[in-house]
Amino acid sequence: MSPMARTAPVPAATDPSIIRNFCIIAHIDHGKSTLADRMLQFTGVVQPRDMKAQYLDRMDIERERGITIKSQAVRMPWEVEGTAYALNMIDTPGHVDFTYEVSRSLAACEGAVLLVDAAQGIEAQTLANLYLAMENDLTIIPVLNKIDLPAAQPEKYAEELANLIGGDPADVLKVSGKTGVGVEGLLDRIVADIPAPVGDAAAPARAMIFDSVYDTYRGVVTYVRVVDGSLNPRERIQMMSTKASHELLEIGVISPEPIPSKGLGVGEVGYLITGVKDVRQSKVGDTITNLSKPAAQSLGGYQDPKPMVFSGLYPLDGSDYPDLRDALDKLKLNDAALVYEPETSAALGFGFRVGFLGLLHLEIVRERLEREFNLDLISTAPNVIYDVTLEDTSVVTVTNPSEFPTGKVKEVREPMVSATILAPNEFVGAIMELCQGRRGQMKGMDYLSEDRVELRYWIPLAEIVFDFFDQLKSKTRGYASLDWKADGEQAADLVKVDILLQGEQVDAFSAITHRDKAYAYGTMMTAKLRELIPRQQFEVPIQAAIGSRIIARENIRAIRKDVLAKCYGGDITRKRKLLEKQKEGKKRMKMVGRVEVPQEAFIAALTTDESKDKAKK
């Protein structure tokens, strides 16, 4: 067992041979943050009295959801056989929406700890990230966590991991982040197994940005991994993709608070601050070089983040529109993937069409807007991008169903994804049924172990952005996990279904669906609205239509009674309070023609059944 290092290697003067860069690949709630906390403690970078649970997850939402949105890098000293090493733990986002960020974090490492819950086994997203790590030639250290749990099955899952990465089940480490058992052994294994970084100290500087975070006080904090050369304070640096140059105001390492250093050398991981205010000026995947002695070739692998899912965000109270705009502007500083532009809905008023990497990204942004900026929002049903070719061969890109062209359409193309689903084999039938119902094409199926199966589908993204994951979870009693990545597009028979209230189209409810599902959408939405819209003083027909053809119809009967019969003992106050409440309710109505539609009806109609049930509980 190794002791805590007596002297830590000094940044900017650390030989690459004593550096180990690694990340932890794990599924949500498989205990990555707890394990990371334990490492911080055992290596002495966090004093026990400063320890707070999940130290590295900064944002409240992260802590509450138990997921890490933004990665960070922590430098920890660890001594093995008298040599003090510098371990850089690079935290990776754990969710499917952030695949690109994960890939950049992995590219900053030589090794990865594959952390799996000993009671649950590997999940699809972990598997996806494991593939990414193996493609990047990372050394994998398989670890089973939570071995203290009564439900842990370390032998079973050790075999599963050994099968996946090749190797002996006996080599799988068994730890408990909670009790600390096996964590020191893991630190030793990291030093022993993971290769030291290799680079040319004499070459022009090249450092890869693997994360970039906006901080209110310091501006953008950029996390880098130096590959060649070195970065030093007060130098001018250059972003190789944009050729923009900045002065290095501060450079240092995180341990676990930022500590300025004399620079960063080959193989080192740390942060830098240049005074820029927008993460778009410091892009993940970009290469930083020295302005006075620039590198000829970037490190490669840079991509602009590409929004996949769009949704309209509207303030419940129209007067909050400027606040929503300001809030989005602020969030954008810290979220290079967030794109938005103003849009107007006849039903919902002024809002924004916002592009997201995926559904979780959408949910996180929405939640941050509501929580950090105190906004009440309506979000329209998420949709994907369609390329619509008209008869005259012009192509329209549609990110909002209400913009779907009404003229002669020649072809509609929709984005496709490759989806991987892991589940116990008893659910294979249910999963296949679900995927086929969602127009998926099966691409393959493999047994990971005797009773766990990996299914691969090529499936329209539009089919998985609505409630696919909820359905998958409910059909597999929560056991299935899902990962997906964008994979081309296909032409499909897609139509726009409009919803009309008393003959007036309600743009917020328009949807683009496959022709075979248009009727189901129409009947579902009209029936839902019939339940949600209160009866008016006149009859209100609700119709679903493709173009001018009505495909479904419901009726809201006129209300017959709206009067409080009694007013006992002269309690007029109560009656007046009731009126005030009713009037307050009326204010929260949106008018569609003459029809008063409560905000709640919009929210509920745009919410999937599962989340509605959750809200009820």
Partner: protein, 416 residues
């Protein structure tokens, strides 16, 4: 009265009202409401402030209640004097509950006597008590008439046994005509209270109740839709699925039936839920048998409500007493006002109340009382058939039958 009290401003212990209460008081009538917070059993639909225990402590027992209530009468007279509100003889008195007639007639007489002692009576004053058909005898009704009561309002509710059972009413349907006859013999005017829309009540059941009520030849009928109040036994039964939910459309149909049957029998509506015999002409509420106490509520009159949880209104000041009889008795024993809270209505709120309450009356709401912003809505109300066109042309907004059923919606359209 409803079990939850409103939130308001604190009320002072001396009961003295803000100056606005006295403004113009000389031109307004004065009424008294006396709440008797006791019942033999609590009915399943009831959320009124009533208690079935005979022995509440601290001067709140049934036996001590008349003396306690009389002490509030004396407190009221002194507080109004101190507020500069001139003493006016009472034009109406109403004993409600609870079940007032659970107390001996002599107790009710004692409370009334205290009030008459304090304020006097207008000639021809209307003095009503509510009564359960079970809790009266020929002798007790005689005694009430003797004490000055002029009118009794029986809680008949329904003539159909299975409906009465859901409502937890203890009387047998046959008891009602008998009690009405005794009241007539004592020289009292008679009103019958009906409830429609009870779970399980068919249209035929409701028709039977209306017919049974009319067979008693009452002077006045109140018909209230059953409201399932939170926290009642009935609400719990509906929640558990033991009793079907009530339905507003069915309520509307039953209301329409009631209005047709009552009109046919010569009773005209003068307020959304109230019909009086022989009403007619231009001013139905001027009719001999309309409940003038009830009208005082709708017309914004002055009244003092005595008893736990009772509400009062004098010149735009509303207040309400503490709910529990023990707390109520304790306050009075210490010489303090039993008021739990009060509110002083500003001009806008008084305006709102005028529209809210006035529109419920057959005499209608003067168009001049509608805020300017709401005038534009009047044409819409006529077009939608909620308000009588000809009456509106004469300057009064009178609800149509359909409008009575949508009165709250009409009010919302008239108020900004």
């Amino acid at each position: 009265m409803p079990s939850a009290l409103p939130l308001g401003d604190p009320a002072p212990a001396d009961g003295v009202l803000p100056p606005q209460a006295a403004v113009g008081a000389g031109e307004r009538g004065f009424s008294l409401y006396a709440h008797i917070p006791f019942c033999a059993v609590r009915c399943g639909y009831c959320d009124f402030n009533t208690y079935t225990a005979t022995e509440l402590g601290g001067g709140a027992s049934q036996a001590a209640y008349a003396a306690t209530a009389a002490s509030e009468v004396r407190f009221a007279a002194a507080a109004l004097d101190a507020s500069g509100v001139p003493r006016r003889p009472m034009s109406t008195v109403f004993f409600g509950g609870g079940t007032p007639t659970i107390l001996p007639a002599s107790d009710l007489a004692a409370i009334l006597a205290a009030a008459v002692d304090a304020w006097g009576l207008e000639p021809g004053a209307e003095i009503t008590t509510e009564a359960n058909p079970d809790s009266v005898t020929p002798a007790s009704l005689e005694a009430l008439a003797e004490a000055g009561f002029t009118r009794v309002s029986f809680g008949m509710q329904s003539a159909v046994p299975h409906v009465l059972k859901v409502l937890d009413r203890t009387h047998s349907p046959g008891r009602v005509p008998e009690a009405v006859r005794w009241a007539r013999d004592a020289g009292l005017d008679v009103s019958l209270d009906l409830i429609y829309g009870t779970p399980g009540e068919s249209m035929a059941d409701w028709r039977a109740s209306l017919d049974a009520a009319l067979a008693c030849d009452p002077d006045h009928v109140s018909a209230y839709a059953l409201i399932v109040e939170d926290g009642t036994k009935l609400a719990a039964q509906i929640r558990r699925g033991e009793v079907p939910e009530t339905d507003d459309d069915e309520h509307a149909e039953k209301y329409e039936l009631a209005d047709a049957v009552l009109a046919e029998a010569g009773y005209a509506w003068y307020e959304v839920s109230n019909w009086a015999r022989g009403a007619g002409g231009d001013s139905p509420e001027g009719a001999r048998y309309a409940c003038r106490h009830n009208l005082a509520y709708w017309n914004g009159g002055d009244w003092w409500g005595i008893g736990p949880g009772a509400h009062s209104h004098v010149g735009g000041v509303r207040w309400w007493n503490v709910k529990h009889p023990t707390a109520y008795a304790g306050r009075l024993a210490r010489g303090e006002s039993p008021a739990a809270g009060r509110e002083t209505l500003d001009a806008e709120t008084r305006h709102t109340e005028r529209v809210l309450l006035g529109l419920r009356l057959a005499s209608g709401l003067p168009v001049a009382d509608v805020p300017v912003e709401g005038r534009a809505a009047v044409a819409g109300l006529i077009a939608d058939g909620l308000v009588e066109g000809p009456a509106a042309l004469r300057g009064r907004l009178v609800l149509t039958l359909r409008g009575r059923l949508l009165a709250d919606a009409a009010v919302r359209r008239l108020l900004p």
